[in-house]
Amino acid sequence: MNIGSRQSRRAESGDDMNETHEHSHVHEHPTHTHDGKPIQEDELPPLEAQILETSVRELLIEKGVITPDDIRRAIDERESRTPALGAKIVARAWDDAEFKGLLMSDADEALKDFGINMSPMELCVVENTEDVHNMVVCTLCSCYPRPVLGIPPAWYKRRDYRSRAVREPRAVLQEFGTVVPDQKQVRVHDSNADLRYLVLPQRPAGTEGWDQKKLARLVTRDSMIGVCDALAATEIAD
């Protein structure tokens, strides 16, 4: 059961490979979502992959395992999870010491307020300080705190990051423009199926008295993966 050899593959790949594009125009999917928005005309994968996806999806529907509506809802659910959610959590932790305490000791409990349920996974929040910089990787696949941050960025899933983050983290951080002083320890957390990590970046200087909404604007996705710091206070407009 191999979907077979093919001449080209698309750029979105877990690995390094040729990146010529293959265009096929089979319109199997509906053209509108259930709330009437047009679905983007986007690139389809090779025909063999389309055949496999259609076959599996139709069999799962015929067997009563899922319905088309379940798929639409799952897509909506996924799209509702973005780094903005993580940013709200970080901003609250910066502003509310009691919440931060709970977040560090029992993240799953703390996140209930945000409607986030990590089950069956567990979330571990690691805090950046004057002495420690944390970064997160999944060397074996692409495990990521999806309920908090949405889907991982392309580089997180690819070989270069997965290979080198654990061997030469400071060099990798530099590729993101992040220079960690020598005296600061770098801790790399390798995620797995059951345990996901979220970095609590350091609160930037000059943000005293800011409300959580404004603080959240400083919190980027990459700062919660630990490849960057939060934005500086001067980097956002009032």
């Binding site: 979105e12 877990g14 580089w155 690819r158 270069d160 080198r164 061997r167 990798v172 993101f176 490849v227």
Partner: protein, 108 residues
Amino acid sequence: MRGPQDYGGLPAGPVDPEKHEHDPTHWEKTVDAMMMLLFDQRRRLARVDESRRMQEALGEDYHKYPYYERWLQAISWLMLEKGVYTQEEFETKQAEVRTRLGAGEDGP
């Protein structure tokens, strides 16, 4: 012995934070949605570990498959292994879909 997925610590190239980034296509979202539904607490038809086991069974082909095509392979094999559908049903369905989609591709 290292499996095909076991990259940790191996030499590799520079990380380009922008390259390869794209908005997920509808097809990718659909594969993602199927996997999440099979993982969910109501169905419990798959676990992350099981999905990984299937992807790693691709062996050297692991490197050739784009990310969501690997997921799709994992789903198709896992559902077969768990008896959600039989090999015969799977092959019949694929032949039927191939005719249906292939007709659009190559003309009648």
